[in-house]
Amino acid sequence: MLAASAAALPALLATAGCRSSDAFTGPDPLAGRPALSPDVVTLQEVIAAERAMIALYQAAVNVSLRPASQVRGLLAQHRQHLGQLQARLVLPPGWASASPSSSRSAVPNRVTVEVLRGAEGASATDLVRRLVNVPPALAQLFASIAASDATHVTALGG
């Protein structure tokens, strides 16, 4: 018995007439990795979107898109957004800190002010859509970032 592997444990417990959940008062360790709550998944998706926005702005900086100082200023604010979003995310040990989609974000071949403006507007809309189903503190952060993004649209000439 002492040499039994973890994989064999459910069968042994079944033989003894009990389920693995009977042996513990906490979560069943044999039930596999628990699912993250919808709030956390939403936050991960918003973080991935913010990273994509930063990549877009970084591409704009790399091609010296004008007005350069304004682009850099807005990029700095998006980095602040990312920092606050990441600070709200607490994952169980072993979970990746970023959702898989964050590494797939594609930057258009040609980054223009119009592209940035479109991305800002889409982000503001998306955040307002998402904030209705998350806890109040997170909803307020989403709303604040959405408002910031909306002011970016105007700052970019929208």
């Binding site: 607490v90 904030l131 109040p136 989403f142 910031s148």
Partner: protein, 146 residues
């Protein structure tokens, strides 16, 4: 904090939050009256336009609060300004400050449960954040929170 969780804040009632927004709108209406007297040209036009927008918001909020069965908080006869306003520069700073106050109040509404209130608050604070950015001449990373 629990694993895989996000921070929480205490629940606020819709009426409570709406009363806060109404009070902020009333303060903005008063403040724009002071600021507008020190502005000219396009800035004075903007102040008049925004004053009108705040009046419309005040009326809409009053109707919303009444529809919820509560008595809308009354406007004060006088509001203490955050600093002395004596020229165009301080008037512009006051206008930005007023919009920041309105933005914070609408952000309070976003903490209320219910899609209707949250969406309303989030969209309304975008307008006040835009106006604050106009007066400030710059955007901020966290309107209503900073």
């Amino acid at each position: 904090m629990a694993e895989g969780s996000v921070a929480a804040v205490p629940a606020v009632s819709a009426v409570q939050a709406l009363q806060g927004v109404l009070a902020a709108e009333d303060a903005a209406i008063f403040g724009y009256g002071v600021a507008g007297a020190h502005l000219s040209g396009s800035r004075k036009s903007a102040a008049e336009q925004y004053w009108t927008a705040h009046n419309k918001s005040r009326d809409a909020l009053t109707a919303m609060i009444s529809a919820l069965g509560a008595a809308p908080v009354a406007a004060q006869a006088f509001y203490r300004l955050p600093f002395a306003v004596h020229d165009a520069s301080t008037a512009t700073a006051l206008a930005a400050d007023l919009e920041d106050g309105v933005t914070r109040a609408y952000l309070g509404l976003v903490a209320v449960s219910g899609q209707k209130w949250r969406t309303f608050g989030a969209l309304a604070m975008q307008d006040s954040a835009q106006r604050a950015a106009f007066w400030r001449g710059a955007t901020v990373a966290f309107p209503g929170l900073s």
